[in-house]
Symmetry: C2
Subunit: 376 residues, 2 copies
């Protein structure tokens, strides 16, 4: 790479059924008057990035190519996977929803940001440089490193939006699954601070103690023999009628609805064959389990809903002013409520190594990888 | 039965696991000042009545008892069924959501209704007499028989509410399943009259021609080898993004979402890994298929929702004024848009015969039974 070019991670799924990851070399762009050029120094690999980065490829078929400095990786996409890739076939995609870095060049109207550390959301962050509209950049307070600000948007905005969504739809408590994740720990901190009762569903005793250690009051381990009773008790204690589910496949969403209905009916004084009239909502925002969601309606009444949930759609619904308020809170609490922890910092080239991919693609709860595209 | 007593159908599920149907004899009640006494002459057996009437009993175990004039029927409720009956154990329930008849006595403030034929909604209509608040009665136009007015509420209000719900949630077309039902035919008449594009999903060629004969334009037969393509085409032609699903079990709700998403993406100009941002909603209002609903999210994007839907909850949401408007339209179009057709008229005693139960419990599309509690 010369001084006037930079590397950018690209993901391509060919119509013939092959995933191709590569580092594309391109000239460093010039920012326009209202734009800045950011040298990206930190970009987290979020679950939503993995979906675009790896697609439905069968990684057991991964083959390394290229050079050590500019490696490539190819893998086969099975026919079933091809049916799910929609319009992306043969389109080389940039990857990386969010990141942070230093503004190294600024257009005439964006000089105030020159030299500042900023965070940004907008795709293509797994890249050494990125041009952004100045207005889309979030300047970080002095003393904040790019690594500290890299996860400023996706997780903090998602966690805050869950609580905001709860208030706007008149629920008074929350259930969260895969609750020991980075996002889940953030949600606990917000709920503790705001006095929102939160039921955490985790999948091991270890995760349960992680959450109890940061002050979580209601933690239910889905591997417990008494999970359904324990979840019903926790929901009855909190009055939660809204769940955000990162897992989404199998019976968990249904179990949550069943426990909500049972908790509500503990207080019922008369029988209705339609169940309780209290609306119970599960928002499915993740696909940690890719199996179909199964909803048996026998014990959930008629007032229920299972829906997809995407941060972008929610922010569009609440509008730019309400979104700005959420962003301001994130900056104010970046090193406390919204602090992220990373398992490892890797370079762009390392991000293409099969063993590293295997590590960050485990999507293990609490684990998170940070790409530093300018890692020495 | 003497002149001062009457018969009322009762359904009881004992805690020990037995369904008991009987005709209870009770003194004819006196209406209060704002009430009327209706001699019920027609009450339809709707799917929603069957759920309460028969519960989860295993009807292959049905045993007849009592006398020819006052029969009883008992059947075993399997343990799995008992877990779903909730608070109704050992409670003798009245049955029959809606019906019509003649006002034979009226309280001081309800004299205007004396002698009138009225329809009413409120439970306990499988009964020779029923006291109702005068305000809750819907007086039928002169020349309307109780049989013509018996199904005034459940099906007509449901079909009208589907269209009203569509408008209020900013959809512009509808998908309906089990579409050749009485309700489905009504919905077709409303949509044809109001110019609302409607995609009808049926389960046989015979049902498809039933609907085409009443003017339905979009009819998709789920037993067709090309069902998915045909459904996608119909949804693309109508722009429907809202479905009311009477079936609810298995993959049909998912197929509808997949076809909606595919229809929307036919017009897409760029790829988004989150799918289209257009919200797709399936309301599950029936349980013709009691299996779990299966939602595979691979091809539906993130903007989707599958929810329970109950007429009562919808009417509460829109409020009494909007509900009254729907009722007025029903009365005005009772012999046209909202005409119901019945397979047979049966007495209360006949409603307890195993062979009759077998017939009306088939829930065959287009079949519907009418109880005349005062049938000679």
């Amino acid at each position: 790479m010369s001084d006037s070019t930079y590397l950018q991670l690209r993901s391509l799924v060919t119509a013939a059924g092959e995933l191709q990851l590569s580092l594309k070399q391109a000239p460093i762009p010039e920012p326009a008057a209202d734009e800045v050029l950011i040298r990206i120094e930190a970009a987290p690999i979020n679950p939503s990035d993995l979906a675009l980065l790896l697609g439905p490829a069968d990684l057991s078929t991964a083959r390394v190519g290229g050079t050590a400095e500019n490696p490539t990786l190819t893998a086969t996409v099975p026919p079933k996977g091809m049916s799910a890739i929609g319009g992306r076939a043969d389109q080389s995609m940039v990857v990386g929803n969010e990141g942070a870095g230093v503004v190294v060049k600024a257009g005439a109207n964006a000089q105030a940001l020159l030299g500042k550390t900023v965070a940004a959301l907008g795709g293509g962050m797994f890249s050494q440089y990125r041009v952004m509209k100045a207005a889309a950049c979030l300047p970080l307070p002095a003393g904040t490193s790019p690594a500290e600000g890299a996860s400023c948007f996706v997780n903090p905005l998602t966690a805050l939006s869950m609580v905001e969504n709860m208030r706007r739809e008149n629920h008074t408590g929350l259930v969260h699954t895969a609750a020991a994740s980075n996002l889940g720990q953030m949600l606990n901190k917000i709920c503790l601070k705001d006095g929102v009762p939160l039921v955490n569903i985790v999948r091991s005793a270890e995760q349960a103690s992680t959450l109890r250690n940061i002050g979580a009051k209601y933690v239910c381990d889905s591997t417990s023999a008494n999970f359904i009773t324990e979840l019903t008790d926790a929901i009855a204690a909190t009055g939660a009628t809204l769940a955000f589910d990162a897992i989404g496949g199998g019976k968990l969403a249904n179990q949550i609805l069943i426990c909500m209905e049972a908790a509500i009916n503990r207080k019922a004084t008369s029988y209705s064959r339609y169940g309780s009239a209290v609306h119970k909502q599960v928002y499915s925002y993740g696909v940690l389990d890719t199996r179909p969601i199964e909803i048996d309606r026998s014990n959930v009444g008629m007032a229920w809903s299972v829906s997809g949930w995407l941060l972008t759609y929610f922010l569009e619904k609440i509008g730019p002013q309400a979104t700005q308020k959420l962003r301001e809170r994130i900056v104010a609490e970046l090193k406390t409520t919204f602090a992220s922890h990373y398992t490892a910092e890797i370079s762009l080239a390392e991000a293409l190594r099969p063993e590293t991919i295997q590590a960050y693609n485990r999507r293990a709860t609490g684990e998170k990888y940070l790409i530093n595209p300018n890692k020495a």
